[in-house]
Amino acid sequence: MTRPSRSSLLMAPALVWLTALMVVPCALVLALAFFRRGIYGGIDYTFTLENFGLVFDPLYAGIFLKSARIAGTATLIAVVVGYAAAYAIAAAPRRWQPVFLFFAVLPFWSNYLIRTYAWIVLLNREGLITQLLRWLGYTGEPPSMLYTEGAVIAGLVYNYLPFVILACYAPLSRLNPELAEASRDLGASAATTFRRVILPLTVPGIAAGAVFVFVLSIGNFVTPALLGGGRFQMIGNLVYDQFLTANDWPFGAALAMALIAIMLLVLMAQALAANRAAGRSAQTGGADG
């Protein structure tokens, strides 16, 4: 047998599986978005664009904006904290770096639900934080921290921070130290060196981390459901409701399409940022992107 035909034979079972159970179902759900909802739930197979109109209805557009705001805030915090942590790890003695990195990623390997649940334990009215406040002499009502937007953001940052650390560490550890030295020898301050030399060369890592946090946050439904409380809604919860409670699959499908469109936009922006950074690093002859 020739090599290409043997290769096709080896790939065939997996490709058939992916086609039947990913490509076809995803195409189907996209198609669903163009049909009407049946009177008793179900689907009425007449073509319509109504579902997409509904996505832009102020009520739902508001939920999109709120989701984008929450995901954006979580991304910003995760990137700032994650970058600082990655920078500190890259500055640590060489032999300690793998150890720090390992322990930064370790929590990421445990169950997502459990990591989120840990925040319920921490933030509930009789949780560790309330007890800490009591111990410090606070006697008033326990603060309500759980079931707030802040709790949702904390949960998202907590869950995705390890990935940002990992993504930012890669370019930081490859950074040529002579570049920073050269910049300082030429009279630049530490701040200028960071802003003009280090930061631009590590943009690809930041972009990869940011995209990861944003994309996973904006479509998330577990964290809002657990830390935001029953009536807290983000796009993910809206999609969930259309499929499992409201039984309006076509509208749910349209919402999912909007979600994918946002994701693709963000990924394109990332590719653009990575390309520009690659061009810059080629000019300076520095670390590769």
């Binding site: 290409p4 159970l21 639900l113 577990v222």
Partner: protein, 264 residues
């Protein structure tokens, strides 16, 4: 990196300390409270293993754990086979299209909720009764992609000329695979399988949508989600500790077998 002033060094250590505190305090509190004697989920009153003992008598949790084990083992077995063959097939080619690359990467980046609703619509449209088997069908989709990427990483440095040499010396394709290719990729295959197993054990959203109605095919994450929604109990703390220990052990093992796939 260049020398730093003592003040900068102190600031960097402070950053590390704070970040690690942020990462570890929540899960440490959870683990500590699972050994808490008292029924109150958040106030410490003495060491005890009684919540672990009570897990052993909770039939809902035991049956969910069994379901999870079935789903994880079967989907890992199928995904390891298909994913490994796919990896060899892809790497064997000297060139392949962007479309193929996208198809293989898609399951790893597609949002869970999208794949979940897509499969739910698909299964109900073809009138397939949902249960553990549909969760398995779904889990193989992303598991095979992860196995494939781990095995491909290993094959990147593989010298295909030794396969040709083996064939030239008269070995059949199967003998060549068994005696030449497999020994090289075996650590990656095992690492990929461990990763797939953990992903499947931990996966919640897709299982939740493809499990069908009724409690018969509830998996452990689905059970945990239901319990969490009711509030905090010491029993969840104990269960969470066990699940966390299993995932972390499996993934640490996977890492040791195959360096360089952290965080995937």
């Amino acid at each position: 990196m260049a020398e730093r002033s003592p003040a900068t060094r102190r600031a960097l250590w402070l950053v590390l300390t704070l970040v690690f505190a942020f990462l570890y305090i929540p899960i440490t509190v959870l683990v500590a409270l699972s050994f808490n004697e008292g029924g109150l989920p958040t106030a410490w009153s003495g060491f005890s293993l009684k919540w672990y003992a009570s897990l052993a008598h909770n039939s809902a949790i035991l049956s969910a754990a069994l379901n999870t084990l079935i789903v994880a083992l079967v989907s890992t077995a199928i995904a390891t086979l298909l994913g490994t063959l796919l990896a060899i097939g892809v790497e064997m080619r000297r060139q392949y299209g962007k479309g193929l690359e996208a198809l293989i990467f898609a399951p790893m980046i597609i949002p869970d909720i999208v794949l979940a609703i897509a499969l739910l619509s698909f299964f109900s449209m073809i009138n397939l009764t949902m249960g553990l088997h549909t969760i398995i069908l779904a889990h193989v989709v992303f598991n095979l992609a992860f196995v494939c990427s781990v095995v491909r990483a290993r094959l990147k440095s593989f010298d295909w000329s030794i396969v040709e040499a083996s064939a030239d010396l008269g070995a059949s394709a199967i003998t060549t695979f068994r005696r030449v290719t497999l020994p090289v990729i075996a650590p990656a295959v095992i690492a990929g399988a461990l990763l797939a197993f953990t992903l499947s054990v931990d996966e919640f959203i897709i299982a939740f949508f493809t499990a069908g109605a009724g409690r018969a095919s509830t998996t452990l994450p689905m059970q945990i989600y239901a319990m969490i929604r009711f509030g905090i109990t010491p029993e969840i703390n104990a269960l969470a500790t066990i699940v966390m220990a299993v995932s972390i052990t499996a993934l640490t093992l996977s890492q040791r077998l195959n360096r360089g796939v952290i965080g995937q």
